[in-house]
Symmetry: C2
Subunit: 293 residues, 2 copies
């Protein structure tokens, strides 16, 4: 079985003490690029050395400090984009109409400026995973119980959404009033989701599931405009090429396609999480879909 | 260079589309053990299949859902345990004496019951990394800026501390009033650290650095009692054997030794983070020590 082989390969690659210490070295070091210029000189004092360089597949230098080669992946664009959770229970319907009603002002605000829309909405999309993951972490500590991997799964989702933002902000630059709006919206949404998740994780995950369904729809519209030439199909930002392992000549269209596939995976994870709660269970009772993208 | 080779090996092991899809499969699946008995039947509905099994190095089934084979590591026990950040500035001194004064009631409460002490304090130790990571995540979103890898580094620390707890709760079972105490302490400490980190991350990381220095001291005392036979050197819990890649006949002494090495790494990371702030910089300006353990 290939899956087993892949695991074994990973295990082997870090199982000897020497390899483990190398892996530590790799991770401790990093290039100075990827954002800022100034360098800290005292690193080695705390045993944290940053002399060696990470490299890409092709041997060129890894230039990001915000993510590492082993966090990159090839998106599974074969995922079913049309899958939809039919709202059955009253809770489902409230979640569904909450999302639908949020869509209305959003459509009016952004019209068809999909680049800007994507950038702005990803600042919100990266909140639920972080809040959910943190609350499950605190719960695991408080109750002295396992997590079933859900802390990691939700934090992975949050990080993936943040990488969407890091990508789209290369395409559309936020203006000052957009920055102000983001700060306000984050303040409200963080607290609302925090409270919502404490009160009903079932409802919270369902809402996110439906938000992801809308995100898929928006990215499909974005793709239509790119194909019709209404939005310029610029080259893909280099951060996106490295993160999703895209070819060097990839374009914005390729980026939107893989981002849309990510959203479809988040949809599945969140509807699944809600379904677990609907069956009267807690998330930890069913192993989390880790690395599902 | 071996470090580069290790990275290349990792890249190769996931760079082909087939391998990437295998890696996804590995992750999506998981065994049903590791905590609870009931199984969810609707998983495959959301494209999340859990039929295949993960395996250990030796081919036996992987029984944990809360962590995966590729998260395990060999602790670097050669780390300098005596390194200490001499408090120089007023802030350093306040941080130092805050921690020292917290030590006093803790010593009286636990006396030399180190198993219980470790279990209780790890529920607190796993909070700062999660709070710091979350606040940096939200900040990255709000300001449309990179993180330098610090979100991940702090979340890794939080997860590592949580694994300490998962280990020690196999050795010492919490009693009802201890559970009640943990809930209270978490409520207070989470909010205090949240606020503290917002006001002064420099101070917050320094406090954690000193807390880790105290943790190293406590684990050294724990080891002394184990060596002197005052505490029974029971076999290591199986979760610890898998997480730290310990030999099958490892004992509690081995576990305490690797946990202490972890704390020394956290000490370095947190003093380093505080040092960056002391130099008038933000964390993202210096690459984070990811996978430093
Ligand atoms: Fe997204
Ligand atoms: Fe999403
Ligand atoms: Fe710890
Ligand atoms: Fe620690």
């Amino acid at each position: 079985n290939n899956g087993v082989q892949a695991v074994m390969l990973r295990l082997m690659s870090t199982s000897s003490p020497a390899a483990a210490s190398e892996a530590k070295d790799e991770a401790a070091k990093a290039s100075k690029e990827g954002g800022d210029k100034k360098a800290v000189v005292i690193n080695s004092y705390w045993g944290i050395e940053q002399n060696n360089k990470l490299v890409r597949d092709d041997g060129t230098e890894w230039k990001w400090t915000c993510f590492r080669p082993w966090e990159t992946y090839t998106a599974d664009t074969s995922i079913d984009l049309t899958r939809h959770h039919e709202p059955k229970t009253l809770m489902d319907k409230i979640a569904y109409w909450t999302v639908k009603s949020l869509r209305f002002p959003t459509d009016i605000f952004f019209q068809r400026r999909y680049g800007c829309r994507a950038m702005m909405l990803e600042t919100v999309a990266a909140v639920p995973g972080m809040v959910g993951g943190m609350l499950l972490h605190l719960r695991s500590l408080r109750r002295f119980e396992q997590s079933g991997g859900w802390i990691r799964a939700l934090l992975e989702e949050a990080e993936n959404e943040r990488m969407h933002l890091m990508t789209f902000m290369e395409v559309a630059k936020p203006r000052w009033y957009e920055r102000a709006l983001v700060i306000t919206v984050q303040g409200v949404f963080f607290n609302a989701y925090f409270l919502g998740y404490l009160l009903s994780p079932k409802f919270a995950h369902r809402v996110v599931g439906y938000l992801e369904e809308e995100a898929i729809h928006s990215y499909t519209e974005y793709l239509k405009d790119l194909e019709a030439g209404k939005i310029e199909n610029v080259p893909a930002p280099s951060i996106a090429i490295d993160y999703w392992r895209l070819p060097a000549n990839a374009t914005l269209k390729d980026v939107v396609t893989v981002v849309r596939a990510d959203e479809a995976h988040h949809r599945d994870v969140n509807h699944f999480a809600s379904d677990i709660h609907c069956q009267g269970m807690q998330l930890k009772q069913s192993p989390a879909p880790i690395g599902y993208h």
